[in-house]
């Protein structure tokens, strides 16, 4: 081999090496992946809520990944069973996972409170689709998530009045009985409802506080009947709400049963039975996905989840919105925890409809609040009646 040949070969090798390096670098860039976590109740008695919400996160991630972006998103699940005690053991593992740059969730207020110490310590940003307890964003409260907790839903200060307004809508001389389930969510929503009842001088004839997983509600039913209440507002979750509604119906009570977003679930009808569930009213700071989504978004939902429609699944829109907050930041090249936190705290985002602006206050609430929707069981199906 002569000198020229060696030079040519050397040049070819060098070019090959450079091109190869570039190719490898491009391939690595193309396959860069960041991880988001959905945290909520995926098993346990409240599993339906988490499984519904996850559909929204799945859809948002699939829509984004289908655009072949430079940075892909991997979505993983963290099951806290909606229980603060479980969340307290799950959150440290998520926080320690360096690949995770954001948490879509936690779904429940009690689980949020239990998760805050881990996420605050590791500067992990949260955007919850459904945790509504007022104190979560109250910087004066000991159980706040500032500055890492944000939520795309209105809090119970908005939902409390709404559940009262919706429950007494169309009722002559309403006599309201309020029952909470002793959880952070249930007591917070009950307090907001009672405050509004007092403000508006509505006739409240009684209240009770019944621990979750109670089997027998007959004493509470006796008290409700003795009080002559014609509206019962239950601030808890659907497994217990369904059992209470069934017990009321079985004992011949014919008033309006109402609840907040914790009771809004198709499984409520199964637990309560169709007769007891009929006419039950719910509120939720939520807009049904099938109502708000475009045809393309509906198709993306079906592609991502395998389900024909989101009807009957709660908080899909809000979880979609929460996930998209992170995705918007990732599109801007924010792929570290610090970058995500700065982007989420100061950025401006859009909701599912592409028009509604989502921007967070310093404390993590949506600027201008979020609408609270009214729902009712009509002929065995939960129907949406718009903002209430």
């Amino acid at each position: 081999m002569n000198k020229n040949s060696k030079r040519v070969l050397g040049a070819v090798a060098a070019v090959t090496l450079v091109l190869g390096t570039v190719a490898v670098t491009s391939a690595q860039a193309a396959t860069k992946t960041v991880t988001l976590v959905y945290q909520g109740p995926l098993t346990g008695t409240d599993a339906q809520t988490g499984q519904d919400e996850f559909l929204g996160a799945q859809t948002a991630v699939q829509m984004y990944n289908d655009t072949n972006p430079a940075v892909k998103v991997k979505l993983i699940q963290a099951d806290d069973q909606g229980d603060g005690a479980v969340a307290g053991t799950v959150a440290p593992g998520i926080a320690a996972n360096k690949a995770v740059i954001g948490v879509v969730g936690p779904a429940y207020s009690g689980a949020s409170i239990a998760s805050f110490p881990s996420y605050k310590a590791t500067r992990l940003t949260m955007v919850s689709p459904s945790a509504t307890r007022v104190t979560l964003t109250d910087t004066k409260s000991p159980d706040n998530g500032y500055p890492f907790f944000h939520r795309v839903v209105g809090n119970d200060a908005l939902q409390g009045p709404a559940v009262v307004r919706w429950s007494i809508d169309g009722v002559d001389s309403p006599k309201v009985y309020v029952i909470d389930d002793q959880t952070p969510y249930g007591t917070g929503l009950a307090q907001a409802a009672v405050a509004y009842i007092k403000l508006k001088k509505i006739n409240q004839v009684g209240s009770d506080s019944v621990v979750q997983k109670t089997s027998d509600y007959s004493a509470t039913v006796s008290k409700i009947k003795a009080s002559k209440a014609n509206v019962v507002i239950y601030t808890g979750y659907y497994p217990d709400g369904g059992a209470l509604a069934k017990s009321l119906n079985d004992n011949g009570w014919n008033g309006v049963f109402a609840g907040g977003d914790g009771v809004l679930n198709d499984a409520f009808i199964d637990v309560a039975g169709k007769a007891a569930a009929e006419g039950a009213k719910f509120t939720a700071p939520a807009v049904p996905f099938e109502t708000a989504a475009s045809a393309a978004q509906q198709a993306a939902f079906t592609k991502a989840t395998g389900l024909k429609t989101a009807a009957g699944h709660v908080y899909v829109t809000e979880t979609f919105n929460a996930t998209n907050v992170f995705i918007s930041c990732i599109k801007l090249g924010k792929v570290t925890r610090a970058g995500i936190q700065s982007c989420v705290a100061t950025g401006t985002f859009f909701a599912l409809d592409g028009k509604t602006i989502l921007k967070f206050t310093r404390q993590g609430e949506v600027v201008g609040g979020a609408p609270v929707g009214g729902f009712q069981v009509v002929k065995g199906i939960i129907k949406y009646f718009g903002a209430v």
């Binding site: 109670t214 089997s215 007959s218 008290k223």
Partner: protein, 317 residues
């Protein structure tokens, strides 16, 4: 405090309290009979109750094909379907209790290990059963189709007493007195009582200890299964952790009455059911547990063996 509710709702509170109390009575038999013969608190009894509720629901939904849209039954169909659910629940709970004894307790007993090992084994079995059912059912609550139309049998003013609550009271009372008679009047009952008084002496008298213990678990488990059926008739829902709070209440009833004593379980169960109802009505449901355990502590302070603990030796199992 709200005493007016007692005036206007006295009968429903009384009848519902008795119905709940009778369910506690049957479940507490599972605790008290086992404690009587083995001096062991069978913590798995709450899960024996849980599998009984699932047996009822599965027979109703999968064997008969009933669902939430099925109209309540009447006549022979009602009798047959409810009978089948009852038998299935008692059988599944009874057999599960016997298997639990064979697997978790018998070998420990044969090896002469201390009672703490059996206690941990009982807790372990309880967790295995609960978690096993949780995984199998994906943690989702299951509702039981309504077989019995819930109409008022008796009416006091504008207050009606439902047929299902009356059924619980009458049927549970019949079952309890049958077991009481069985333990006091039959040969096997005598053997059970003998073992509960002295294991060693019983052995010397030629009693087959293992057979008697298995029979005790079978009877206690069956009664817990019957309670599960009655629970499903009234509340029509179950889930993997349904046994936790009701099992704890029944265990409390057994201790209140004097654990190891059949009639203690009876009075303890009824006292607890009524106490829960009236405490919840008068003080508020949030005070129910506080009141119950305050009363329990006070009773144990003055009668450490419970209301009937050692006083009625002849009824001890």
């Amino acid at each position: 405090m709200n005493f007016s509710v007692v005036v206007s709702q006295f009968w429903p509170l009384l009848i519902n309290g008795l119905a709940l109390g009778f369910i506690y009575v049957l479940i507490s038999l599972g605790y008290t009979m086992v404690y009587g013969v083995l001096r062991l608190i069978n913590f798995a009894n709450s899960e024996i109750f849980m599998v009984g509720t699932f047996a009822t629901v599965i027979v109703s939904r999968n064997f008969f094909g009933f669902n939430q849209d099925t109209d309540p039954l009447s006549g022979f169909k009602l009798f047959f379907a409810m009978g089948a659910c009852l038998v299935a629940s008692m059988l599944v709970s009874g057999v599960t209790a016997v298997i639990v004894e064979l697997v978790a307790y018998r070998r420990l007993r044969a090896k002469g290990t201390n009672r703490l090992a059996s206690l941990i084994s009982a807790i372990g079995v309880s967790i295995i059963l609960q978690e096993g059912v949780r995984i199998l059912t994906h943690s989702v609550p299951m509702s039981n189709p309504r077989l019995l139309r819930k109409f008022s049998v008796v009416t006091f003013g504008d207050v009606g007493i439902r047929v299902d609550t009356l059924l619980v009271i009458v049927f549970a009372a019949v079952l309890f007195f049958s077991v009481d008679r069985f333990v006091n009047k039959t040969l096997l009952g005598k053997a059970i009582r003998a073992v509960s008084m002295s294991e060693e002496t019983s052995k010397l008298m030629g009693i087959n200890l293992n057979r008697v213990i298995s029979a005790t678990f079978l009877i206690g488990g069956s009664m817990t299964g019957a309670a599960a059926f009655l629970y499903e008739t009234v509340y029509e829902n179950t889930k993997y952790n349904v046994g936790f709070s009701i099992g704890l209440a029944a265990f409390t009833a057994a201790v209140l009455g004097g654990i190891g004593n059949l009639r203690g379980a009876f009075y303890g169960g009824l006292s607890l059911g009524l106490l829960e109802q009236f405490a919840a009505a008068i003080l508020g449901t949030q005070w129910k547990a506080v009141t119950v355990f305050l009363v329990l502590v006070m009773v144990l302070l003055f009668k450490p063996n419970g209301l009937f603990g050692e006083a009625v030796q002849q009824t001890r199992v």
